[in-house]
């Protein structure tokens, strides 16, 4: 039986007792992602503060892999530095593309912590999307939030510099 390689106890734990679940206020951006092959859905919100992800909250429906993945995501990125969180997301994608290669999982162990338990999922092409859905949502939401922040700071800057030089490029 190969099932245990996919459904590691850590994954089932996160599925049964998800961390950080539920949509919270305040938030900068909310995104909704679906997996059109199986109908799984996630709604995810991010609140950025300076260089940090102040809060990431989510609500979703789907299989154990997709739900556990969202819980692990919360554990890994909530309250973390944005750059670091996005790098963790990239590492998770690398793990999902590893086709079960154990050396990849070993290399990413420090960065991914509990999420390294998803290594078994990478052997099942049809389940990789389930595991990645919340991470794609995070990447999307963070990018939108960063863009909004940038827009906002540009506006503030423009308003502050009411001199003839207003509107020039960021120094």
């Amino acid at each position: 039986m190969q099932l245990e390689s996919m459904y590691q106890e850590i994954i089932l734990d996160h599925y049964r007792h998800p961390l950080g679940r539920g949509l919270r206020e305040p938030f900068d951006v909310e995104v909704h992602h679906v997996n059109p092959t199986c109908g799984d859905e996630i709604t995810l919100r991010v609140k950025l503060s300076g260089n940090e992800i102040e809060d990431v909250s989510y609500e979703g429906m789907g299989c154990s892999i997709s739900q556990a993945s969202a819980s692990v995501l919360y554990e890994l990125v909530d309250g973390k530095n944005i750059t670091q969180a996005l790098a963790t997301g990239d590492d998770f994608r690398t793990l999902m593309q590893s086709k079960g290669d154990p050396t990849v999982a070993v290399k990413l162990e420090d960065s991914l912590e509990d999420a390294v338990a998803f290594a078994g999922v990478s052997k099942y092409p049809s389940r990789i999307k389930c595991a990645l859905m919340s991470w794609m949502a995070l990447k999307d939401a963070t990018a939108q939030a960063l863009a909004a922040h940038e827009q906002l700071s540009l506006q503030i800057e423009n308003n502050q510099s009411s001199s003839p030089t207003a509107g020039k490029e960021n120094p």
């Binding site: 190969q2 459904y7 199986c38 109908g39 429906m61 789907g62 299989c63 389930c130």
Partner: protein
């Protein structure tokens, strides 16, 4: 766990097909999956496997007769054309149609699109096609149980033309709610497009009742027969419909071949969908006239080897006898429905009995997402489909995110149903769902596929 006595008896008397013999014709069924397990293929509703006879027919075409049909002045071209047209006759006979009413397409989806786009094209196709023109104020009727292939083409046609899309709703046990029939199908209705047998619920719809209603108001009827032609005897005349589509790959045939059937006088008046070579009569640089049906709807070099393969599939099914095929599947479906409903926490999505019902059995297991059920079954070598089955409005109607679906065909026997039932219990054990706490479950399932 063993099959309940009454259903086991039922199987003894009703299972007519010799599945052991049939399986020998299907090379793929002798392979193993997931570390040496016997393949229990319960996903024929998505696509069926192909017997050697079909594979041989295709191979023979390519090895001995290959040429572009309806072109060329050489012997191979003649032979290829003869085989292609003979295939058309075989398929026509299989559904009780005239051969010049049978159009080869890529699959059912293309067949539905052919009709939808031909209707679009009728707006500029002259007086002959005027009867097909639709616009604001006209209505197209579908049902809530359509899969995407028989929904999106009509949805999009309505968006293009300004016509209104209406639909028949479903009852809680997965049947069409016919109380609203006379309201939904009315004098504004131009076309009723509906599924013969639902790919997700298994429901067989009362086509005659609906086509009678449509005839009364002068509406055309298109039947999506992708899930019925492979499994039961279908006669286009008896159904009294105007158009019908199905796919080859779900009925032992190759992929890339399907059928669009229409009554000849309608095909004559209907403008083409795809244009190009083969479908023409006379071509000038700025205008053309078209060949009569079915050629009018077959632009380009057609898929001849696949047509020949589909004809071989029809022959294979005819040799078994479509009534026996239907009875065989009926018995397996009954076993599955009874067996699944005996497992606590399992709910059938669709009619819970075998009355007017085909062999697509969708279900949910409390506390386990269908994807996870499917994963456990896959680990045991059992191939099922999970998800929304390209029929998203249906799962939404029943308030479930998705279902697990088993579908049966001629190569499935009662041992496959047993494997499914054991597999569902194993999923409950694996995920620790409390309903499945019978002490003997683990020992029984340990023997599956061993």
């Amino acid at each position: 766990m063993s099959l309940p006595l009454d259903t086991a008896q039922l199987l003894d008397t009703a299972q007519l097909l010799d599945t052991e013999l049939i399986c020998k014709d299907f090379p793929i069924l002798s392979r193993t999956v997931r570390d040496g397990r016997r393949l229990v293929y319960l996903d024929s509703g998505a696509t069926s496997h192909k017997p050697r006879q079909v594979l041989d027919a295709e191979r023979d075409f390519y090895e001995n007769h290959n040429a572009a049909v309806h072109r060329g002045a050489h012997q191979l071209a003649e032979e290829a054309t003869d085989l292609y047209e003979a295939a058309r006759r075989t398929v026509a006979a299989f559904i009780g149609a005239a051969e010049n009413e049978v159009v080869f397409t890529k699959n059912s989806t293309e067949g539905v699109n052919l009709l939808a786009y031909a209707i679009s094209n009728s707006a500029t196709a002259g007086p002959e096609a005027a009867r097909f023109v639709i616009g604001p104020g006209d209505e197209i009727v579908v049902t809530e149980m359509e899969h995407h292939a028989n929904l999106l083409p009509w949805q999009q046609l309505c968006i293009r033309t300004g016509a209104t899309l209406r639909w028949l709703t479903l009852t809680d046990d997965g049947r069409l709610d016919l109380e609203s029939l006379n309201d939904v199908i009315n004098e504004r209705t131009k076309l009723v497009a509906l599924v013969h047998q639902s790919n997700i619920l298994g429901t067989v719809n009362p086509i005659r009742e609906i086509s009678d209603g449509a005839n009364e108001v002068g509406a055309l009827v298109m039947l999506d027969a992708a899930q019925s032609v492979p499994h039961t005897a279908v006669d286009v005349v008896a159904l009294d419909v105007d158009f019908l589509v199905f796919s080859g790959h779900k009925m032992l045939g190759p992929t890339g071949i399907g059928i669009f059937w229409g009554r000849y006088e309608l095909l004559e008046a209907l403008p083409p969908f795809l244009t190009g070579g083969s479908m023409i009569e006379v071509v000038h640089i700025d205008r053309s006239t078209f060949a009569p049906p079915p050629a009018k709807f077959e632009a380009g070099v057609p898929m001849a080897a696949q047509a020949v393969g589909l004809a071989a599939a029809c022959d294979y099914l005819s040799d078994l006898g479509m009534d026996r095929v239907a009875e065989h599947e009926h018995a397996l479906t009954e076993l599955a429905l009874v067996g699944l409903q005996q497992i606590p926490g399992v709910h059938i999505v669709g009619p819970p009995d075998t009355v007017e019902r085909g062999g697509a059995v969708s279900f949910t297991v409390e506390g386990i997402h269908p994807h996870d059920v499917g994963q456990v079954l896959d680990d045991l070598g059992i191939a099922v489909r999970v998800g929304h089955h390209c029929a998203w409005p249906v799962v939404r109607r029943f308030g479930v995110p998705a279902t697990t679906r088993a579908t049966f065909y001629i190569y499935n026997g009662s041992e496959d149903v047993q494997a499914l039932l054991d597999g569902v219990r194993e999923a409950q054990r694996f995920f620790g769902v409390p309903e499945a706490t019978e002490p003997n479950v683990a020992t029984v399932t340990a023997g599956v596929g061993a």
